[in-house]
Symmetry: C3
Amino acid sequence: MTPHPLGAALVGPALFSPSVQHLLDLVGIFVFAISGALLAVRKNLDVFGMWVLAEVTGLGGGVLRDLIIGAVPPAAFTDLGYFLTPLGATVLVFFLHPEVERINRAVMVMDAAGLGLFCVTGTIKAHTYGLGLTASAALGVASAVGGGVIRDVLAQEVPSLLRWDRDLYAVPALVGAAIVALLIHFHAFTAFGSGFAAVVAFVLRLLAMRYGWRAPRAWHRRSSATEAPDRV
Amino acid sequence: MTPHPLGAALVGPALFSPSVQHLLDLVGIFVFAISGALLAVRKNLDVFGMWVLAEVTGLGGGVLRDLIIGAVPPAAFTDLGYFLTPLGATVLVFFLHPEVERINRAVMVMDAAGLGLFCVTGTIKAHTYGLGLTASAALGVASAVGGGVIRDVLAQEVPSLLRWDRDLYAVPALVGAAIVALLIHFHAFTAFGSGFAAVVAFVLRLLAMRYGWRAPRAWHRRSSATEAPDRV
Amino acid sequence: MTPHPLGAALVGPALFSPSVQHLLDLVGIFVFAISGALLAVRKNLDVFGMWVLAEVTGLGGGVLRDLIIGAVPPAAFTDLGYFLTPLGATVLVFFLHPEVERINRAVMVMDAAGLGLFCVTGTIKAHTYGLGLTASAALGVASAVGGGVIRDVLAQEVPSLLRWDRDLYAVPALVGAAIVALLIHFHAFTAFGSGFAAVVAFVLRLLAMRYGWRAPRAWHRRSSATEAPDRV
């Protein structure tokens, strides 16, 4: 499937000028890649393992989205900047990981910004390639969280996205993607609306971290589960 | 690759009318999604983790097949019913998981029906897109079992498909897919033959559960393995 | 994306005649598949699990590359020989796995040859489909090591590719792929250069095994990590 010739027109004006958009993409990829490289350090992997986890965390969600919408080769393989950014993150973490760990709070704030940005741009890109609004929103969420899931699977951890003892991560992305889909549905999609959706997702994620918001587990949990919450 | 213009003619008449076929697809996806949501409950994941596992278990096999045959975007992203069915399974399991566990036998019988159905329809779809019969049968099996493998990988379990201490699961799908491929090869493919293949796979799976059929492990197992069968 | 009509011309003459190239591909797939089937035996999986691991190890890297460059259906699903070779490896390991384990050193030498071959042919194929040289080299490495990563994820092991306590595996592939990319960049790509790159990767891998070369971990490791090197 090729992008709709009226792709841009379909979803309204772009959120930012192309160069600003590209810069924001690189920032988001960089921050995601840092989380991959840091997990590699914690799991005692070598420098090549750090690089691989940095690449898949930074680029994995977008590659998954692009394969599904038929945008091959994925942007990660046609834009050299996308590919090299995780390498920079790897070098930084390799030499300075204790310092990076120390500013972990700042890294997580930037990660929240990347989450807000990618859930919006992912939804828009999927819709530009002709997918319906529900599927586009789902792929927007997948772009934002997919890299982290692949990172955790490769590092042999239960994806933190799925764990009940982690603060909400996918829900903010879901809200951001849903706002974009609703705006498009009601023909009210503008650059402002797009920015609004990204900010809502960003702020929701910050609030979830600040107040420890978590998603509920299934009802009627047996007491044994309550007694052993860490058996995951 | 686009579907062969004579796709339907190539593989003979459809097994069911399109609306019946679609309904059966939804039932199969629903049952697979239930198994994903139930595993999420057992692994103590939150409600979002339940939803994610339900979606990947219900849709993962078909998405994998569609990416490989070049049917993008995959049907799971173009048919809203496919996407929403796992959400329904999640809601059901969220509120009623003890009751769903109690009728686990019934769920597994429906799962066997989904297995029989998907190995047949997956083989037919791959062949319609121009793949050879062996590759089509392999993709039929992948459609039927792929979702469960992704489910187990995300939940950090050795895929039950691969474990020697689980009843046969892939072999019934393999038999069903092989029957379809043989019927097409001998120009004997009909709606009846297609239904026959699905029923054979279904019954084989039921028998495997009833009598605990298992696949052998490699010959010459050292005694240590026999003494510690659970070290997987 | 379709292959460049001047694909072959773009990258110069082929390394080998097509039939020799095909035979070498089959040998590489066979050896990779053996490593998958052997891991299945060690993890106590049944014969079907052996077959699945043999297929994904032998073919996974190439399928991943083909999905990303848009070469669908992947070669693994259009060439019956590619698909059946891992079945042969499974049968061999099923009956003779103690003997195969005993010649493990020979298997690993052949595996090194497969690594050298696939990093070169993977890079060339990606470039033929129009990808840039950096992306092509990355996909060359992914073709060579991807199957092993999928094998380890399915078997619930931290991918040996990422572990610091394993001899270098990806670096030889990276060097081989980089040589090919540089030769193409400087318009010096010939069959001889292609063979040279494969041999360099092969020899580097043999030396890494012989002398236990490992990649470093991040700087400033805390002493706790040094004391517990096996906590991965």
